[in-house]
Amino acid sequence: MPKVTVDGEEIEVPEGATVLQAAELAGKEIPRFCYHERLSIAGNCRMCLVEVKPGPPKPQASCALPTSEGQEIRTDTPMVKKAREGVMEFLLINHPLDCPICDQGGECDLQDQAVAYGRGGSRYERENKRAVTEKYMGPLIKTIMTRCIHCTRCVRFSEEVAGVDEIGALYRGEDMQITTYLEQAASHELSANVIDLCPVGALTSRPYAFEARPWELKRTLSIDVSDAIGANISLHSKGREVMRALPRVNDDVNEEWLSDKGRYQVDGLTKRRLDKVFMRKRGKLAEASWDEAFKAIAKQLKGAPSSIAAVAGDMVDCETMFAAKALLKASGSDLTEARQTGMTYNVSNIAAVNFNSTLAGIETADCILIVGSHVRWEAALLNARLRKAVKGGATVFVVGPEWETTYPATFLGNDLSVLNRVPKALGDAMKAAERPAVILGGAALAKGALAPALKLADKFKLVRDDWNGFNVLHMSAARMGSLMLDFTVPSGMADIAKAAPKVVLSLAADEMNHEPFADSLKVYIGHHGDKGAHMADIILPAASYAEKAGTYVNTEGRVQFAEKAVFAPGDAREDWTILRALADALKVNVGFDSFAELQAKMIAEVPALGEEGLADYGVLPKADSKAKAEGLIESYPIADFYLTNPIARASAVMQQCSAELLHGEDVREAAE
């Protein structure tokens, strides 16, 4: 570990650290534009110049200079100050003075660093500014390329992290321009992250254009519910509206990325909302009062109070599910199910349906078998992790229909029976691997592949010292929470249908099949007028994830807490309060009167939900040696990445993405 001095202070830095990192360790701020911790080093903005001895008597780019023993780094000399001023002056020659109309204003690296490190004036005032034609990059990214300072972060992101080479830097020198090939839309699932990466206002958010200034926004820590990754986000709200969602840094979960859906479905929070109580009267939904609705439910249950079932949707928090379960328990029913599409895999041991390698851990795997999962669409951020693993030398095999991976992968066909007798290439690779992993997706679970896949755990020795390579990848943010709360019945939705309950409570369950429940009173407690609401007899308007606090458990069993960002619209209430009121109407006692009491009761029952972080599910169950994998995986559960949940389906931005990026409709706007 080399010892260096930074501004006279001696520190020890890790082997291979750069001078910039050494300075940061010493607590010195180094201005930069092109350098980014998660991208390769480009060294082309020159903003990070420092003085280093021994070395040539000139400023050096600290981001690209490795430290060596005895180096003397200075960040506070007149030479450094002058160098930074000079670089800033050059950068500003061509940068337009349009900060007042620029969406980056207030959160712009160039603006901040110009104030902190610039010289306050330019000697190039008579120089003409460079003109660059606008580039089209799709419905999410708005470009104003005259603002570009050629840091190439966006190019490096799409090449290295996303694995989709679509952004490039054409021409050279002052004429360099950032563009996509023939200005096609950037069309991968992480494309909008370049907006966060862009240090200036060249790439900004198109849906958020001219909506708000950063200092007007209230930031609330939340969890993304668009998939089961549980990306850490912060919801930025103005008044009662969520204006945007941005990722928070969490190296264990989402690093600092966010999928386009998690980022841009928030405009759906204000559209197609259920904000009044509705009841079906003579076949038509009509407005009603809470009292009326509750009375109707109580009336339906008269004489058979336990004939009630609850089905949870994909984006429900643990508290809501617990409240529903408590209500049903008090009524004498245990008909609760969260696997609304009818899956029936065995959940007696949660470790068997958990992503045991952890999201950060899967990066270190060296042989990965994906069974029945379109990872890019089911968990875009996991796909970025898999790409990292492949870059680190991992080999990937996939069972299931082909999809466009962002890394080399071998497809082994659609037939699940390959799990019984694995092909030689896979077997050899797994045998040689030190950290082998299997990822089981929703399409495989639906075909009953969980038990035969567990046999692979023994066969490939997936569980070793400090390594567990058996993973199930869920798609629903509520899934792991529901399993921890035991919100399931053994045969899934079929059991619920067989019981023919008089009342079915649907907790925003929009993907369930309502046909078997034709004779039941269907009560929809949800936030969007989607499939579930269309089928409902009674609609009780509830809160979306942005409008209530709640606990979510992601696919690796990480318990995370989301806070309430805004109030629900109209008469909509937080879900637990509706269930609590319903308990009164049904004259049962659920044992809590406040959210704190509810949460305390839930934690008392499932202590793991009270601790943020990875829950411990114990060891994998013994595999059933008779289990045989069979069947063909014909398709993956997600048909359209941008429209997987009611919020996304209500979002105009997601609709446009789906139409333009997936269905190839030409909805390109005229150049602004």
């Binding site: 679509e166 490039g168 054409l170 021409y171 050279r172 004429d175 090939y181």
Partner: protein
């Protein structure tokens, strides 16, 4: 600076170049270039391959050649590289023509040594003959481009026409060269100064005189 934007992606362009493929010899040459690089590094051959493609286009169009988008896509596919990466290279280097050029691509060096030795006159001489920057002349023979230093400062001013250099130019000497080319003859390449061989001193040797007969170590004398 020359306009480096690629020729627009029109249906006509696709129709003309969409079916571009290596000729038999060029495929051999392309594979020869690719074989120079270790396995998995085929993309390193992008520059010789683009040059080869440009020359093949040149043979087909009887010009110096240029790179239509479908040809760039073909090269990208041939070495399995995303097309944007190949386009980056093609638009970066001035030796790749992004638009059609004439039979003779007259590239006049306008960098300081050539400029001091009269490249402005060379450019006006070209313009007098009807050439325009970045345009193909009406007879399809000429395209004029101003380029940066070509490394012939000792024999400035110079022009590069297709693969040949013509140095020590005056407007009259340039006219002789261009007239010969227009007639389909091959003028003498290199220096046009009578009596000069290559880039040796034009008059008597003025420095490094001790080196004439044998190697001489100057280091002690500095």
């Amino acid at each position: 600076m020359a306009d480096r934007t690629p020729a627009p992606d029109t249906p006509e362009l696709r129709a003309r170049w969409g079916s571009f493929e290596w000729t038999k010899e060029n495929r051999k040459r392309a594979d020869y270039h690719i074989a120079k690089y270790p396995d998995g590094r085929q993309k390193s051959a992008v520059m010789p391959l683009l040059d080869l493609a440009q020359r093949q286009v040149g043979e087909e169009t009887e010009t110096q050649g240029w790179l239509p988008l479908p040809v760039i896509e073909y090269v990208a596919k041939y070495i399995d590289v995303p097309v944007i990466r190949v386009l980056e290279v093609a638009t970066f280097y001035f030796m790749y023509n992004m638009k059609p050029v004439g039979k003779y691509h007259v590239q006049v060096c306008g960098t300081t040594p050539c400029m001091l030795r009269g490249s402005d006159d060379i450019i006006s001489a070209c313009k007098k003959r009807g050439m325009e920057f970045g345009k193909v002349s009406e007879d399809g023979l000429w395209t004029l481009t101003e380029v940066e230093c070509m490394g012939n400062c000792a024999t400035a001013p110079m022009v590069q026409i297709n693969d040949d250099n013509y140095e020590d130019l005056t407007p009259e000497r340039l006219d002789t060269v261009l007239d010969a080319l227009a007639k389909g003859e091959q003028p003498k390449t290199g220096t046009q100064e009578p009596g000069r061989h290559t880039s040796e001193p034009a008059n008597a040797l003025s420095n490094l005189t001790d080196m004439v007969d044998a190697n001489h170590d100057y280091r002690g004398e500095w």
